[in-house]
Amino acid sequence: MMLIVLITNTFRELLAKATLVVLASISTLIIVVTLLSFSSQTTSDGVSLMMFGTPVSPALPLDKVTEFVQTVQVGMAKGMFAGVILFGIFATAGIIPDTLQKGTIDLYLSKPIARWELLLGKYFGGVAVMLANVVYFVGALFLIFGVKTGVWNVGFLFSTLSMTFAFACLFSLVVFLGMIFRNVAIPMIGSFLYLMVISGILQQREATLYLISENGIYRGFLDTLYYLLPQISALQENIANQIMHTGVDWKPFVFSLGSSCLLLGGAAAAFSRRDF
């Protein structure tokens, strides 16, 4: 019950932040524009797709329409993924350092809750907010495309879970860094650096970092690092595959889940030993 109270409170705490209002506003704008501009017309030759009443494609057979819609959905999902990560990290990077502030942590820890419970409450609260945002955006677009084109792409709908999972993995790194350094800047910079640079390089380590040295220990270290940290780049690729129904690689999910548990466990261990 305590965990639910904490999750609900973190949800409300984040909703009070302007960053997430901006994300929700951008999502709403895209949904409204898509709703008003996108339409299709069925003729005897096939389905013609239109933007603002102007055809953007010749009459296409149903499989081509499906492919077109899926491609558009991949673009939108990638945009949403970037938005979720960007705004999500901005909004949530302060959760742990704020909680650890004098005057706040005293109040929390004087209540009958375990420290790990407090940490998980904050973590899942952050994840729940992003899930709500993603479900709102993707769910609305799923309905719009379904109703207007007849393409009900379940893969697109399920990408909400993949996107939220990817955010949750990166957020575990934010929580870990927030717990260790107790400030907002390092988790924010660290997670962006990891997302933009490190994750991609580690995924492509055989073509990049391996070239620096042939030393087995060095390469082993890189491999360990890759499997120990969330595989965000691979998860992002999986989202596109999921929407296009081209097969999903489950390994990044499994390893990222493991590394997230490790990061959260590390954060909980550091939290349990700390004096406030």
Binding site: M1, M2, V5, L6, N9, R12, E13, A16, Q101, K102, G103, T104, I105, D106, L107, Y108, L109, S110, K111, P112, I113, A114, R273, D275, F276
Partner: protein, 309 residues
């Protein structure tokens, strides 16, 4: 039954360079259930460290502590504890009611139980009309009152209050003192940490004085402020010239002021002999008051004695 106990509780903070600071040094104390107990000490004496160990905010280096008979650390016992920290930060986006609701639920109360306690508590701390105002608009005094309501939301058996009257006006302080007395009447224990010694003196049953992590003295306010046999005697009429010579043997110290003399005597018998002497010289006695220090004086004297080589 003892509400709070500590046995040889020690906390040493260690820095990375091998330096260490002992904030609490083999501190042992027992607080009875139903009393208002105050912990006094200069800044850095270890008062807050002690409270924080009891609330599991700080881990002790050695020793033991218990609350309501439960050995610490114990998460469940915190259901019976209320705490008002010295500097508390409530989420500014919440209203007063929402703060109480949130912390009530975190204290393990059901939604219905929390809601039923919110209104009477806000009324008790004089915040009823600001219940639905955002906390970010509250003044310091209002935050303090809300903090007190938050500390009482779970109807705790033991309440820890760190500077509860900080930022509160004199009328509000009186109200808070009345609330504390009311809590005590319900058989609950109040553990107070305050710099306002005059207030501590007004409400506390027992006081402990702590310095550099060590317990210097513990006792009732009367015990701590008693100055021995010092009296102020109100008189009407002039003292004879021989008076000082006649009293030399019986009083340790004597001083004269208009219509009053202050004297330090060895025994109560000496006091009676002094009264006889005054009456013999036809000096009217208008009052006899046993002198005592304020708690502040006692506190300062005790700390000075510790500092002196």
């Amino acid at each position: 039954m003892q509400a709070i106990t500590s046995e040889s509780l020690t906390k040493t903070y260690r820095s990375g360079r091998g330096k260490s600071l002992t904030a609490l040094n083999s501190f042992s104390i027992a607080v009875q259930q139903g009393e208002i107990f105050s912990l006094l000490g200069p800044n850095g004496a270890g008062k807050t460290t002690f409270i924080k160990i009891l609330l599991s905010l700080v881990h002790s280096t050695s020793g033991q502590a218990s609350i309501l008979g439960k050995q610490l650390p114990d998460t469940k016992v915190r259901r019976q504890i209320g705490y008002l920290p010295e500097s508390h930060r409530y989420p500014g986006y919440m209203t007063g009611d929402q703060v109480l609701s949130f912390f009530g639920r975190l204290s393990g109360l059901s939604n219905a139980a929390t809601k039923s306690r919110m209104q009477p508590l806000m009324q008790l701390v004089g915040m009823e009309q600001w219940r639905n105002m955002k906390v970010r608009k509250y003044s310091k005094g209002m935050l303090q009152r809300l903090g007190l309501a938050q500390a009482l939301i779970n109807d705790p058996d033991v309440v820890f209050l760190d500077e509860p009257t900080d930022g509160v006006d004199p009328v509000g302080r009186k109200e808070i003192r009345d609330i504390l007395k009311n809590i005590k009447q319900q058989g609950k224990t109040v553990f107070l940490n305050s710099h306002l010694l005059s207030e501590v003196e007004l409400v506390s049953d027992r006081v402990a004085i702590l310095d550099k992590g060590k317990l210097l003295k513990v006792g009732t306010v009367d015990e701590l402020t008693s100055t021995g046999s010092r009296y102020q005697i109100g008189i009407s009429g002039a003292l004879p010239e021989s008076f000082s010579h006649e009293t030399a043997a019986m009083v340790l110290n004597i001083s004269y002021a208009t219509n009053a003399l202050t004297c330090e005597l060895k025994t109560t018998e000496e006091l009676n002999r002094l009264i006889d002497l005054l009456r013999k010289h036809n000096v009217a006695i208008t009052s006899i008051v046993k002198q005592r220090d304020s708690l502040e004086d006692s506190f300062i004297n005790l700390i000075k004695r510790e500092v002196a080589p």
